[in-house]
Symmetry: C2
Subunit: 464 residues, 2 copies
């Protein structure tokens, strides 16, 4: 990154004036840094540059651009050169490109790719069979395989041969496949190097293999890769057929993507895919306004609830001064619980069947924290001079509201997950809005009990 900043301006000049020299540059500068610089060019300049480079070099840069940028560039580059670049991209990046393109452009590009590089086109079709966020869409079909009968020495020769082919992403594992494409085991290059070259590979391979199904969600794949510390996971379908492998670098990208999604959802925003500054203000509004309006309409109920108690409020106006304090505190405790549970679900520490343990633990935390806040709150009420009855009312309400917030904040993610939705949808604003309404109901119900005497007097003559 430092490098990109240092050489940025000169590099940009070079890219503009002498694109032919870029291939030499690629030996010295990392493709990621070049992609950063290309990212700062305008569409016409970037397209011109990529068109003039060799397809191989252009692919190295193109596959590192954000999807929105790729989409914009494909038409500017032209179908023929774009197809040649696509042919050189990593299989999963290529499949992503096709899913991101508008259908018409995608179809035209695929047709062109079929002529330019039939094998790559076939891979696109194979990967596109699976949902965009599934293991099948993330895999590559370029791996090193061997029959169970070969020796370690022969396997090493295969690795050596495949290592020279740039399309093969992962050469550090040899997948031992039967003639009908069933995975017998995996031998790491490490095992192969340390074994006697005459040993049959079936003697050194690991048979108890961790694998994923092609329809498995990419988040689960990432979690398995993180757990088992492997560099690649084989993709095997329910019939036991081997489809390809998922490499660790793709997993890291998935984790970053999924985490962005979660943070956005937690903040009540529909996930935004492209970087903030590459997303137009209108797109951001589209991603935000929906949820904001839903929550806004939901909050109408606070008005309805308050109107329901208008007689009480008219008698004791002081009651309304505490509403924001109480409901926001309920919302805050709910946000805390939901963030704990949402994260626990995401990393697999908590599962739905644990709901009663969550309920119990959150209730205990809620009561204890409610009592702590009640102590502070009672002090404040007395300082404001609202009297002992109000102090009792606020104290009791705080315990109920904080406990309620914890329980609702803790249970909502589980309930949402139970209905097959993403628990992160139980965003902080959503929890807060829910608790706002419930908080008002708790508060005024308590008020009617605690202030019964005051209210009875007030119905004769207004207090305030």
């Amino acid at each position: 990154m430092r490098l990109a900043h240092l050489i940025g301006p000169e590099l940009r000049d070079l890219l503009r004036n002498n694109p032919a020299e870029v291939s030499e540059l690629l030996d010295e500068v990392h493709a990621e840094d070049l992609a950063d610089v290309v990212q700062e060019l305008d569409d016409d300049e970037a397209a011109e540059l990529l068109r003039r480079m060799s397809a191989d070099d252009a692919a190295d840069i193109f596959e590192r651009l954000p999807e929105g940028r790729q989409e914009a560039l494909v038409e500017k580059i032209g179908l023929q050169p774009a197809a040649r670049i696509a042919g050189e991209m990593a299989a999963d990046d290529r499949a992503d490109l096709f899913s991101a393109l508008p259908e018409e452009v995608g179809d035209q590009l695929l047709e062109t790719l079929e002529r330019v590089d039939p094998e790559a086109a076939e891979e696109v079709e194979e990967l596109s069979k699976w949902p965009e966020t599934s293991a099948g869409h993330l895999m590559t079909m370029q791996y090193v395989s061997a029959l169970p009968s070969v020796s370690a020495g022969e396997a090493l020769e295969t690795v050596r041969r495949k290592a020279a082919d740039e399309d093969v992403e992962m050469i550090y594992y040899v997948y031992v496949l039967t003639a009908d494409e069933r995975l017998q085991g995996i031998a790491s290059l490490r095992d192969i190097l340390t074994a006697d070259p005459r040993t049959p590979i079936s003697d050194i391979m690991r048979e108890n293999v961790i694998s994923v199904a092609p329809e498995m969600d990419q988040e689960v794949v990432a979690r398995m890769m993180a757990k088992y510390d492997v560099q690649a996971l084989p993709v095997i379908d329910t019939q036991g057929r081997f489809h390809g492998i998922i490499t660790v670098d793709d997993t890291i990208d998935v984790m970053t993507e999924e985490q962005t999604e979660d943070v956005h959802k937690l903040g009540g925003v529909q996930p935004v895919e492209n970087p903030y500054f590459d997303t137009t203000v209108w797109t951001l509004i589209r991603k935000r306004a929906g949820w904001l309006a839903v929550l806004f309409v939901g909050e109408f109920f606070t008005g309805t609830a308050l109107r329901h108690y208008d007689g009480v409020i008219a008698s004791v106006a002081t009651l309304s001064y505490y509403v924001p304090l109480l409901i926001s505190t309920g919302g805050n405790s709910g946000s805390q619980s939901s963030s704990l549970i949402i994260r626990g679900l995401a990393v697999g520490e908590i599962s739905i069947k644990d709901w009663w343990k969550v309920l119990w633990r959150e209730a205990v935390q809620g009561v204890v924290m409610g009592l702590i806040l009640a102590l502070v709150g009672v002090g404040r009420v007395l300082l404001w001079g609202d009297g002992i009855r109000f102090a009792v009312l606020i104290g009791v309400t705080l315990v109920f509201i904080v406990a309620g917030g914890c329980v609702i904040g803790g249970m909502m993610p589980l309930i949402i997950k139970r209905f097959g939705l993403d628990p992160a949808t139980s965003s902080t604003p959503f929890i807060a809005s829910l608790i706002d309404v419930i908080g008002i109901l708790i508060y005024f119900s308590m008020a009617k009990v605690v202030l019964a005497q005051v209210l009875a007097q007030a119905s004769v003559a207004p207090v305030h």
Copy 2:
């Protein structure tokens, strides 16, 4: 995971009754799955089991247990066997263990380790020199290195020899070091395998190396590893001395850890390190009550602000019915902005110097979304029969509050980062509380203008 569940019960019986057979099991069951099962045993059973296994096998399981559990087990296992297990752990996991242990226990264990495995003890001291969340603490000093003068064939022999040593985590890169430990370049095993064995390694190594400094934060390290798609990053200090390497599997763990921290902070919880169910209710309360109390005290200002307008509220009680609706909407729009900006900062898409662009973009979004909500809100006001003046008041207030929410929510993470703090501290509850107070001020200031006539009449005779 499936495997662990299937064989869980039988495995547990076996672990309880025949721990000697566990080494055989380790050939067939993944250490991660065994760790899952051990995790379900109680401390005495787990300690007994780890003590009876070979130190090597025990380390494989022990390093995969959560830190809290490791801490609890060290004393049960006993210093001597625990030191032997620690000696076999991966360098970074071992350093983590020592940072997690209470100082006294840690010192005793280190003393024992110095006798059992001096090299491992030295590594602990080397890694512990660096802060717990830095690159230096994450590295391993077991790598494959070669002098610039060796040939590709000789380098391959070195790799082969090192591959047999289980302590060497990463054998897929050869670090070309001068005699005084300066990194000249990196040759991947792939490059070595495809080169002519007689080629000098200095001809095939990559010289433009991406490296990290030992004091660099682990989150930045993870981001670089994600960007450059490498399996390991070299750690080089400002004097150019090579210290060790960080492997990709550790990066994945770091990403998971940092994401958990961010989600917790966003929800207004001090990060909780251990899994939810492994954390006591009291620890959770400690991690939550502080922030909750701070926010609670902050919300006192809503009460102060409302009291400031008590005359206005007494005149037009209807005003108070809209308070929760308005302030929560401001809070929601602020949460959306802050989640977008916090995430953008975390992945490096946004930097502090972009503040004016953020300000401008958030203001535009705020005004547009405010207008959309104003349309809906005005309709609701008229349906409630609060009249045209109220409709104008609510509409205008919504535009100001939503725009204010977006601007505050967007700018706070940048301001917090400017002061050297983690932007995620600008949690959703924090933003919401801030906007609650500001929202009340905006609302009643507007009310005084828009309802001036009504309020003037009311001062003669109460409206409600």
